[in-house]
Amino acid sequence: MEFGLSEEQTLLQDSVQKFLSGEVALDRVRESTKNKNDKAIWQGLVDLGISGMLIPEAQGGVAMGTLDAAIVAEQLGHHVTPSPFISTAVIAPTILSTTSTHNDLLAAIALGESRVGIALGDSIALRHDQGVKEDKGLLSGKATFVLDTNADVFLVAAQNKSIYLVEKDQLKINNRTTIDLTRSTCELLLDNSKAELITSDESVYHQAINIGRIMLAADTLGAAQCMIDQAVSYAKEREQFGRVIASFQAVKHMCAEMTAGLEPCRAMVWYTSHAFDNLPNESEMTTCHCKAHISEIGKFVAKTSTEIHGGMGFTDLVGLHYWFKRIGFNRQLLGSPEMLRSEAAALQGLRNV
């Protein structure tokens, strides 16, 4: 029995960590969010082979597993890195590799030559006037909180849970700002748009959502761990009343509570990622709980670690808000904790009606 990261996985973690902390430090994140341009950062990740992680070898990828992808997502969260990783490198290959018709697109993703936007959210929960409907092979409606404004092509789930590929020239893309400037999200307007049916197999749709949820949970794990690290090291330097604030129990206990909450989340992400590839019966339920639980802990860590920084935590100067907002974004996307828990209950038949 071995429950943990393998040597190869630790190496992967180290190499991504090294690249991100060296080349994508906070200055670079600030610059990228200002220019709304993450292309250079993404190219760096493509050079590391990240874009082809989940793509079969025949299409130029390296065919790694969900846990490997989660390790990368955790690092991206840790460094609040702007990138189309979840959409292009994770969700798109999960959908496209279930058919044999889009090997070219998979190959282009692996090479870093194509970015695929993802519009799945509206099919999970409808609010306002969202939603995409299919009629005679054409799509109409509005998709919101779509990942990746800079995508070349989009995978769109209609309300029938079928997934379609839509070219950029078939839709209107409106940039939509969210609190999280490290993520590029947009709104898609479709009006009898030409669309190619990729799959009407509902299980593919669920797989795509689940793997996205795991990546968001892993991203929060990394972001929250970084916030704790920053809070602890700030507390060890900051002096008040003639001593470092890290020696006050009030501060120490806040750090201990964050650590105690977050540490089990690491094992939870490992298990959930492993379950996605190996334990199909429990994968969906575990995923719901994983993202819901980590979102709750993440919210607590985001607030508490900001407080430990005192007034500086509130400033743009320290930049802690990038992590705070990233965790907030992950919490809502692809299912809020309340929705996920309700889904988890339904999945285990916890309803008498």
């Binding site: 029995m1 071995e2 429950f3 943990g4 393998s6 846990l67 602890v232 507390a235 060890k236 003639g242 001593r243 470092v244 890290a246 020696s247 006050f248 129990q249 501060v251 120490k252 206990h253 750090c255 201990a256 509570e257 650590t259 105690a260 909450g261 540490e263 089990p264 989340c265 690491r266 094992a267 939870m268 490992w270 298990y271 492993h274 190996n278 575990t286 709980h289 994983c290 819901a292 639980h293 709750e296 309340e338 828990r341 309700s342 988890a344 209950a345 916890l350 309803r351 008498n352 009606v353």
Partner: protein, 403 residues
């Protein structure tokens, strides 16, 4: 990542399941002495399902340590809802201590009787003035000829009223620094000069006692380890107790009872499981239980694969596990509403009052074995390398300097 235990272990699990199924009608657990529980205990020892790694010479089964097998044993008895090996402070604390630091004579004298349930022990650690700061304990033992003369008071001594023996921390070197002046003594509870007063707690039961010592005379050789080394002796197995206190198997089993309760209790004609607010609270707890189970798998794995680091994962178990248990019991009461208030002989009581008494008892566990606040000190100081709180004396002199 490899979550399987392998064929040998699956076979072991299969045999154990069969054993439990065949013998469950005889299973009787508990901390008290009775012929029936002793017989069940003996059966479990003979089959290697408790006292498994204790050498045969001391009455155990004599297997080499295999934590996977220990884990399977704990899991299977918990899942079956059948009493496993007897658990009391003698078995879980004194026996490992004697194996670690006791003399051969002490091991031969005490271990077999203890694991067979024939010798019941109580633990004399806490004092009214020495709780979280245990090392400041003041119960004294002074050597007089061939005997120690013990004077002082202990508190939170569970089972003192039924115990045959006590393992007790006493101060033997009053001049030494506080951690270096303590010794670990064993003595009989019927020695003259011992007075036991039951301490009724919030559950309404006397789970604990106060124990008073007045000139209690203890033979000189009933000391474990060297004079003044009692703190080390006591700490040799302290981590072990903390692991036990946050066990996620217990949380899982109570969560399952909670699900059963939610399916059976109703509110305005609807089962509680169909009530979105209660269901959400239930699911929140399930998520927390799952996180602790996976955390536990990681700890187990780090023991099997020494390269893996699970230092912080271990440190948080007592804090998270006991708080989680308390929250689980609390939701049980909330689900029942006013019926959650029933207690004692109330005929409307559900599940024999387990929700109410456990809700209170688990609060005791949050406090006992190192309070949640002490756990947070440990996590921040040893896990996150944050500085200790300055001593009151230092704070005073700092204040004087700054004035």
């Amino acid at each position: 990542m490899d979550l399987s235990f392998g064929e040998e272990y699956e076979l072991f699990r299969k045999d154990l399941k069969a054993f439990i199924k065949q013998n469950r009608h005889e299973a009787l657990g508990g901390r008290l002495k009775s012929d029936k529980t002793d017989a069940w205990q003996k059966r479990l020892i003979e089959n290697g399902y408790t006292a498994r790694t204790i050498p045969k010479a001391y009455g155990g089964y004599g297997a080499t340590l295999d934590i996977v097998k220990s884990r399977i044993i704990a899991e299977e008895f918990a899942h079956a809802g059948v009493a496993g090996g007897m658990s009391n402070q003698g078995i879980s604390m004194l026996v490992p201590t004697l194996l670690e630091v006791g003399s051969e004579e002490q091991r031969l004298k005490f271990i077999q009787g203890t694991i067979e349930g024939k010798i019941i022990w109580c633990q004399g650690y806490s004092e009214p003035g020495a709780g979280s700061d245990l090392a400041s304990l003041r119960t004294s033992a002074v050597l007089d000829g061939d005997e120690w003369v013990v004077n002082g008071q202990k508190i939170w001594t569970s089972s003192a009223h039924i115990a045959d023996w006590i393992f007790c921390l006493v101060r033997t070197e009053p001049e030494a620094k506080k951690h270096h002046g303590i010794s670990f003594l064993l003595f009989k509870m019927d020695t003259p000069g011992i007075e036991i007063r039951p301490l009724v707690d919030m559950t309404g039961a006397a789970n604990f006692n106060e124990v008073f010592f007045t000139d209690v005379r203890v033979p000189k050789d009933q000391i474990v380890g060297k004079r003044g080394a009692g703190w080390m002796v006591a700490n040799a197995i302290l981590g072990h107790e903390r692991d036990m206190l946050g066990d996620p198997n217990g949380a899982l089993s109570r969560l399952n009872s909670l699900i059963t309760l939610a399916r059976s209790e109703s509110l305005n004609g609807d089962k509680l499981i169909d009530h979105p607010v209660y269901r959400d609270r239930l699911m929140k707890l399930q998520g927390r239980v799952m996180a602790m189970q996976y955390n536990d798998m990681r700890i187990l794995s780090s023991r099997l694969n020494p390269g893996q680091d699970a230092k912080i994962a271990r440190m948080i178990v007592k804090l998270q596990g006991t708080e989680l248990r308390h929250d689980i019991e609390g939701l049980g009461i909330d689900m029942m509403g006013e019926f959650g208030l029933c207690y004692g002989d109330n005929p409307d009581l559900r599940d024999n009052g387990a929700w109410q008494s456990q809700y209170m008892f688990q609060l005791g566990l949050i406090i006992g074995g190192g309070t949640s606040q002490i756990q947070k000190n440990i996590i921040s100081e040893r896990g996150l390398d944050m500085p200790r709180e300055p001593r009151a004396q230092q704070v005073k002199s700092q204040e004087a300097n700054s004035q």
